[in-house]
Every structure is written in C-alpha cells, then in structure tokens.
C-alpha cells in the first residue's frame, strides 16, 4: 500500500515530522481521554521511521518522543499511560512471536502458554500462594523481587519452550499449528485445574494480590511506571531481534523456513534451530508475563486463552511476518483497535441507545467483535497482502566493507587450498 509511495518520495521531510510531533503532543496534553490524540502520537513514530534523514537523528527523535514527550505531556494522565503500557506489552509479545513465526516460520498457536508461565511464576511466588506447597511460610515476597523475577520469568518460560518444543518441533509443517494449539489448551486446562491434588495455581479462582514492583522503597504501581518498565523491555527485545535477524542463528531460522531439506544439507540441525527459536520467543513472552502479572495484580486462566494467542498472531501477520517495524506497527494497531477504538465505539452506541436512537442487543456490543475482526483481518492479509503492512526485507551487505576487511587478505575456508596448491 502506502510504503511504495514513500519509497518513491525518498521519505518524509523532517519538518513535516517535527510539526506532526508538536501538534499531536499538544493534543495529547490538552485532551483528557482522546483516542485520536493517542493515535496521533503513535503515528509520529511511524513518521519518524520513514523520515528522510540520518538514521541517528531518527533514533534520537524516536527516543525523545517515547522517553520525554509522552511521559511529559501525558505522564499525569492515567488513561494514556495505561493505554501506552498495554500497547507496549503487546508489542513486546508480538516481537517475541515474530522470532518463532516470522523468522523461523513456525506457526505457533499456543504462544500465550509461555506468557502464562512467566505470569504464574511471579504470581505464585510473590503471593502467599507458594506457601501451599512450600513449607516454612517464606511467602509472599515483596515487590523488590519483581526485578530478579524478570529473569526468573525469562528462564522459566525458556525451559517451558524447550520442554514443549522437544516433542512438538519434531512434527512437520502444518501439523505444528494444530499441535501447538493443542498444547496451549493443555497448559491452560492444567493451570485451571492445578488447585488439586496440590494447590499450585489456585485453579479458576486465580491468584491475588500480586505485589507491584518496588525499587529503593518506591512502589511502582501506577501505569506511569509500567510504561517505563515495558519500554525498557521492548528496547531490549528490539535490539535482540535486530541482532538475531542477521546472525548465524537468524540465517539458520530463515533457511529452515525457506527449505528444510536444503538447510539440513548445509549442516543445520532442524531440531536445534527450531528449539532455539521456540525458546527465544518463549523467554520474551515470559518476561512480559511477569510484567503483566504485576500490572494486573490479579491473574487467572482466562487471561491466557487461545484468543490471546490468535490476537498476537494477527499482530505479527498483519504488520509483516519477520519485519521488526511491521510487527511493532501491527501490535500497536491491533491493541489500540481492540482496547480503545472498539470500546469507544461501544460507548458511543450505548449513548445512542440511552437516548433512544437505536436499540442494540447486548450481544452486538462492538467490543465483543474480536473474533470477527481478527478473522477478517487474517483472511484479507492472506489474500491481498501476505507479507504484511511493512514487508520484511533482507539487509544488503556493504560489499566495500567486506572487500576492505582485515580478513580479506588471505583466502578463507575451502579456498585456502588454492594458495596451498600454488605454493607447492
């Protein structure tokens, strides 16, 4: 769609971007609860991405918007910070799934299980729940433990990923989708029923109160703090994604995605490579799960249904499978649509109903139209834009740098035999 136009324009002039940022920042500051203003500031990130200027300038601009402008103009507005941290949580999840689906081409429909693993890891040990099966009354832990638990959540989810992956990833192609779907459901059912014989998850009642993060005695329970925590995690995940994309592992993932047989004949172990993708994607979801649990202060198995997995999949596919900017865009778009636009539309219809203009059955509340919208999006993207809104592109290498490399002097690999041959 639009990115073709931008390509021919060589990007957006810097002035336009700066004006846009100023206007939407002002709107954000002066309007109490406006989806439009929020979308405006989000859109400025996309503008920056396509702005015709040096990469470093764009980075600084983006950082300024996210770290300074949004917190400064909307930091005292609970509503905006709440929406922003929700968007952040989904962006982080989608970036994790992008490694599995986008890079390695493994259609995982049970991704939310890893998110659940992280969330439950923190929830169980930070509340008195853990006393149910660990004697000694050591629990609950204080909110200071949130920070080490980011790592614990990561490790727990990664272990989950490996344990699930070991059997699941031997299954070929399309079957993987069904099997991961099945496993996702199995995990949810287990969490739902593991209040007996030993009460580990407290079953359908869920776990509460999960403590907010604490740092040097400051309780960080408001959306304002979560905004920064999530942002910090996203930056970490984006950097990891970028590094993976053009690494030994990233190439192996794409190779396996494109042609398993050829990949094997290049010495790539299918199982190890897929496991690495699964574990990496899972670990990111685990970290986000810890944040989610702390933010919600209450979790139960209903937060980890198949619809969550599908929602994150829609974000990845819509934005552009394998494309980091695409996935961020997709996640932001779908989250705002889901948590804001539909809700606003619902409220609007309700107000119409109250004034007697229309009669709306409760079932038709637009905020319940998740499945319909996800379904239509998946079909339309598959039919008309299978590579997503911002398709992934492989980076071109700087050939001059390669020729000038300190290694370019001698022949490497099998070609080293050339020079040996000539000497003898």
């Amino acid at each position: 769609m639009a990115n073709i136009g931008w390509k021919s324009m060589k990007g957006i002039p810097l002035v336009v971007t700066l004006i846009w940022i100023a206007v939407s920042a002002a709107a954000l500051h002066f309007m109490e609860k406006s989806v439009i203003a929020f979308l405006g500031i989000l859109f400025s990130i996309i503008l920056i991405y396509y702005t015709n200027t040096d990469k470093r300038v764009r980075l600084i601009l983006g950082a300024a918007v996210l770290l300074l402008i949004i917190p400064l103009v909307a930091g005292d507005n609970r509503y905006y910070m709440e929406v922003a941290s929700q968007v952040g949580i989904y962006v982080a999840m989608a970036l994790g799934l992008n490694i599995v689906v986008g890079f390695a081409g493994l259609l995982d429909l049970g991704y939310v299980a890893f998110f659940a693993a992280g969330a439950y890891a923190y929830a169980i040990f930070s509340t008195s729940q853990a006393n149910e099966f660990i004697p000694g009354g050591l629990f609950p832990l204080s909110g200071d433990w949130f920070w080490p638990f980011l790592i614990v959540g990561l490790i727990v989810a990664a272990i989950f990923g490996i344990l699930l992956g070991l059997p699941v990833l031997r299954v070929k192609g399309d079957y993987l989708a069904i099997v991961t779907l099945g496993f996702g459901e199995i995990i949810r059912i287990i969490f739902n029923n593991l209040d007996k014989p030993i009460n580990i998850t407290n079953g359908p009642q869920g776990i509460t109160p999960i403590p907010s993060p604490e740092l040097f005695g400051v309780k960080m329970g408001t959306p304002f703090y979560f905004y920064f925590i999530v942002l910090f995690v996203i930056i970490f995940i984006v950097i990891a994604n970028i590094r993976f994309e053009h690494s030994r592992l990233g190439r192996a993932w794409v190779a396996v995605r494109e042609d398993e047989l050829a990949a094997q004949s290049m010495g790539i172990s299918l199982l190890n490579t897929k496991l690495a993708a699964f574990a990496t994607g899972a670990s990111f979801a685990g970290v986000v799960g810890v944040i989610f649990a702390a933010k919600q202060t209450f979790i139960d198995p209903t937060s980890f249904t198949l619809m969550e997995s599908i929602g994150i999949l829609v974000m990845v596919i819509l934005g552009g499978s394998g494309s980091i900017p695409g996935v961020i865009l997709g996640a932001a778009f779908v989250t705002v649509l889901q948590v804001q636009l539909l809700k606003e539309f619902s409220n609007f219809l309700h107000s119409l109903q109250q004034s007697g203009v229309i009669n709306l059955p409760n079932q038709l509340d637009p905020s319940k139209f998740q499945r319909l919208i996800f379904g239509i999006m998946l079909i339309l993207v598959a039919l008309y834009r299978p590579n997503g809104l911002i398709p992934a592109r492989r980076k071109k290498n700087d050939l001059e740098a390669i020729k000038g490399s300190k290694y370019a002097g001698g022949k490497l690999g099998i070609l080293s035999k050339l020079t040996q041959g000539k000497q003898s």
């Binding site: 990891a240 993976f244 030994r248 094997q264 004949s265 172990s269 492989r394 290694y407 099998i414």
Partner: protein, 258 residues
Amino acid sequence: MALLEANGLTKRFGGLVANQDVTVKIEQGTITAVIGPNGAGKTTFFNMVTGFYEPDEGDVLLNGKSIKGLRPDQIAERGITRTFQNIRLFKEMTALENVMVGTHSRLSAGILGIMFNTKRVREEEERAKVEAYQLMEYVGIAHVANEAAGSLPYGLQRRLEIARALATNPQIILLDEPAAGMNPRETVEMTEFIRKLKHELGLTIILIEHDMKLVMGLSEYIHVLDYGRKIAEGTPEQIRNNPNVIEAYLGKSATEVS
C-alpha cells in the same frame, strides 16, 4: 582405503525397490558419475549417502567410519555436501547470505553471544562474510551478492548453489544434474568449472548427469544403475562398450551412449 564406500545399499518404498544392493567405492580426488535411465534410483542413492534416506540394508563409510543413521546435517558437518536436481536455494535471502548459511556449522555463535553481540561473534561474522564473498568471486557471481537468490537467472542459481555447498568446506560434493536445463555453451562452462573444483580444491566429486557428452568427457569412473541395481562400473571407455549398459539404454537413447 577408499574415501567413501557404499556397501550393499538397499532402499524400498512400500513394494518398490528403489535401490538394491548398490555398492560403490569412491577414491579421494576423483570425479565419479552415476548414470542410468530415468527412475533408475540415482537420486535415491544420493539421498542415502547424504542421510536424507536411511538405507534399509547396507552401510555407508566415510574414511572407513560408518555414517549410516546420521542426520543430513551431521553428514554435512563430516564433509559431504550436495546440490539438488531442482535447485533449492533460500529464495528470500540475498545470494551472499545463502553462501553464508553454508558456513553455519563452522561458526559458533549461540543465543547469548548474539544477544550481547560479543567481540567473538562480530569477528566470526565478519570472517564468514569475507569467506562467502570470496566463494562468490570464485564461482564468478560476486556481482549479484546482494540480489535476492530467487530473482537470479537459472544459470547463476546453479552456480550459487555450488558456492553455497562449497561454504560447508566439504571433502566430497555430490552434484545432482548440474548441467540440467543448460545450453551447450553453458554446459561446457559447467564442465570446466567442475574440473576446476577437482584440480584447484582437491575435491572429490560425484555427479548424476544425463548429458552423456559431459559424463564421458569429465568423469574418471562411472557407475551405471538400472531399476535400482548397479549393472556396470568402469572407466568411460569400458562403459561405452559394455553390452549391459547399451541394453539398458536401448529403446531409450542408445545413440547417446554410443
């Protein structure tokens, strides 16, 4: 001792016997051809040597050690690599990246190393790039290093596939119909190129090919399969005059052999 020995390889698919008791010995630094009519089981033989099929009977020895039952990636690591009849490149990656994939098992970067972008990972990556680029120069396609592999013309894709195979630093390379679909001029170039691989890199080459001019001109030793069995082996001269071989090809393309 032969570099590669296939002893009594047998492979069945349901009722069909694709290979029956095939025994082949390959000496270091030679060019060997495996020929036979369509459906004779040549590709099945390749698949057993490279680990894509596990033989029902028989054994494959590399340097005297059995590699039977190993996965294709493990066999690739031990120095046997291949190209495919119907070129199988990673189409969305650039040509250079395709070749870099070949260096995979000689690199060591893991999840943490990549995430923290350690010095070792950066240097290893740079070396791999240089090596891949040198290989592309060697096969004469460095000018398309940054093109998407799937967008290259057919002849260049063949060369790219060989460059990618060379990047695994193999002892043995199996070429499945390297000149298929090429015009006579390209076929001559390919013949020269394969000879160069042997002389300059000391590679041992096994190839499947239907173009008899290429086979007879290039190979030092030939194995002939028919209906899954080996019916003859010998030098090109011996094969040319072997009555069994002529019979196998009669009614099909006897003129090509004689």
